[in-house]
């Protein structure tokens, strides 16, 4: 233990000037245990999805593609157009309420387990550990003179970091421009300037944030870390040091009975501080720097096991439970409090509404625009002609034929180049339509008419066509 404490003191001497403020470089110690296992499984899960999903094919195209150049978002069978912005809003509402809910129940779960900053820092630290060794070895290496070995290790580490960052930047851009074409272009060194810029930009951000900035991103750059406190209440699960049990802290050998010496259960080994990626001491209470990663819980439990003490000197608990010395059952009971129930209720409501909206979504959209150049024309013999343009969008990937008709005036007649209009999957077309009518004598000004558009899937005998009725005005001179 002594060597480790000395290590902490020496690390405190390694002060470096960073961009935000004087920062002591943090050398997080590797930790294993239940929460480390959960964190690692989430690293694997999120990254398998992130690096893998872009390559998945669906209907002969990329399954998930936010094709910003064509302004169409493909999410498996769903094609979203700019007109579908309401779904983006719904998605944001769902994300916000999920964050409220999870944070109210168990604090900064997002930060500790799923935030890309945490995930990439974890991966980069793993690389660092594989190349340079664990905490003590890394501190020794940084303190030591710059020799061939140090240069080799540093070059290897940064080389691996940069390679991973570039692949991350490439994958990121691959969600916005088809990744297979992008891969071919990158391999042929003929990638477009804008794609190249964003790949390098995102890659650089990954390298900088996960390799160099690390906990500083959470401490100084993340807005969420600053306001997460407002979502907490006294029944929120947070990582807590049990002061009543741990104090007075102090070193002792395993054979000593702490009660006889007047000591609490904290052996003051400093492991909880050494494993902390933000370098705080959880024993000082809840701090905004704590990202809720639970590394200190794993670290402390290992020490408690070695000492033969009960686990959970540092554990997930709530302010109320610690104050009233309550057990897990009491904590669990208070999860179902009004705040949590209201968040859950709203979340379900929005989710069901969104699902219903998606279910009811018409497979095509129509926008009727009056032609402003030729407002109306007298076609002779009491017949009046108006010109419209119909913007028809076949929003999903089934080719369709659209039969257009109109009603609302006597003698209404349509003339189009083709009727029905044939449209391929996920395409749109502007269709000029001339409407002739013979209004009753005495009708002047604007009259309401209706366009009725029936969309049928092509090739099949579609007996229940989707129908859209759009109202517009017919001008009579």
């Amino acid at each position: 233990m002594d060597a480790r404490v000395a290590g902490v003191a020496e690390a405190a001497d390694t002060v470096e000037q960073t961009l935000y403020e004087i920062r002591r470089k943090i050398y997080p110690r590797a930790v294993s245990g239940r929460f480390a296992a959960i964190r690692w499984s989430l690293v694997f899960l999120t990254q398998a999805v992130f690096y893998g999903l872009a390559w998945l094919q669906w209907n002969g195209r990329q399954a998930v593609l936010f094709d910003i150049a064509a302004r169409k978002f493909y999410i498996f069978g769903l094609v979203l157009w700019p007109q579908d912005i309401v779904y983006l809003t719904v998605l944001l509402i769902l994300s916000a309420y999920s964050l409220f809910l999870f944070t109210a129940v168990a604090g900064r779960l997002w930060c500790g387990y799923a935030c890309p900053q945490t995930v990439y820092t974890e991966i980069f630290l793993w690389i660092e550990r594989k190349v340079e060794g664990d905490r003590m070895a890394r501190m020794k290496l940084d303190r030591g003179a710059t020799d061939a070995r140090k240069l080799r290790l540093k070059a290897t580490k940064h080389g691996l970091w940069i390679a991973l960052s570039l692949w991350t930047g490439f994958t990121f851009v691959g969600y916005f421009t088809p990744i297979r074409e992008l891969f071919v272009n990158v391999a042929a060194l003929s990638v477009g300037p804008w794609e190249a810029f964003w790949m390098l930009f995102y890659g650089f951000a990954t390298y900088g944030n996960a390799g160099w900035m690390r906990e500083q991103v959470c401490k100084y750059m993340c807005p969420y870390a600053r306001f997460q406190g407002v979502m907490f209440d006294p029944d929120t699960l947070v990582i807590t040091y049990d002061r009543d049990r741990g104090e007075p802290r102090g070193g002792r050998s395993k054979s000593v009975d702490p009660k006889a010496r007047g000591l609490g259960d904290c052996v003051d080994c400093g492991i909880c501080v050494q494993v902390c990626p933000t370098g705080i001491d959880i024993r000082n209470g809840l701090q905004y720097e704590c990202i809720g990663c639970a590394a200190c819980i794993d670290g402390c439990n290992q020490v408690m096991d070695k000492m033969g003490y009960a686990r959970g000197l540092i554990r997930y608990s709530t302010e109320n439970a610690v104050k009233r010395h309550e057990d897990q059952a009491a904590i669990l009971r208070r999860v179902f409090r009004p705040r949590v129930l209201v968040y859950t209720g709203i979340l379900w409501l929005v989710l069901v509404a969104a699902a219903a909206m998606l279910w009811q979504r018409a497979p095509f959209k129509v926008d009727v625009i009056r032609d402003r150049v030729a407002m109306q024309a007298d076609a002779g013999d009491g017949v009046v002609q108006n010109v419209y343009r119909l913007q028809i969008m076949n929003t999903d990937e089934t080719p369709r034929s659209f039969a257009i008709s109109a009603s609302g005036m006597p003698g209404l007649e349509l003339s189009l180049r083709e009727n029905p209009v044939e449209l391929g999957g996920a395409t749109s077309r502007m269709v000029p339509v001339r409407v002739k009518a013979k209004p009753d004598a005495g009708t002047h000004g604007s009259v309401e008419i209706e366009f009725r558009i029936e969309g049928r899937s092509r090739g099949e005998n579609d007996l229940t066509p989707a129908v859209i009725v759009e109202k517009t005005r017919f001008i009579v001179p």
């Binding site: 150049a69 700019p82 912005i85 983006l88 794609e195």
Partner: protein, 101 residues
């Protein structure tokens, strides 16, 4: 210029620019825009990228003005220096972070 001040200006502006860019180009198709009467062309990716940097510059400019206006009358009248270099008796001498520094 103090590099820390630069970060203090650029980082919040970066966040705001990202959000503003996403919202703006979700609503507006860059192909419908024109520049000095000329159509912007068919390259949406270029418009998104340049738009982002435009938003970033505007937001950073606004943050810079906020910092600039933070000086009090006493600072302007008697102590028009960086906080660290101010003579005794001047406000905010002890605080190098004053004026967003």
């Amino acid at each position: 210029m103090n590099p820390r001040l630069l970060i203090h200006l650029l980082w919040p502006a970066f966040i705001v620019a990202g959000v503003a860019n996403a919202v703006f180009f979700t609503i507006v198709d860059p192909i419908d825009l024109s520049l000095f009467g000329w159509p912007i062309g068919n390259n949406r990716l270029a418009a998104y990228t340049l738009g982002f940097f435009g938003f970033w510059a505007v937001a950073a400019g606004s943050s810079a003005l906020t910092c600039f206006f933070q000086r009090s009358a006493a600072e302007i009248n008697q102590c028009p220096l960086e906080p660290e270099g101010r003579p005794p008796g001047c406000p905010k001498r002890e605080d190098p972070q004053a004026n967003c520094g």
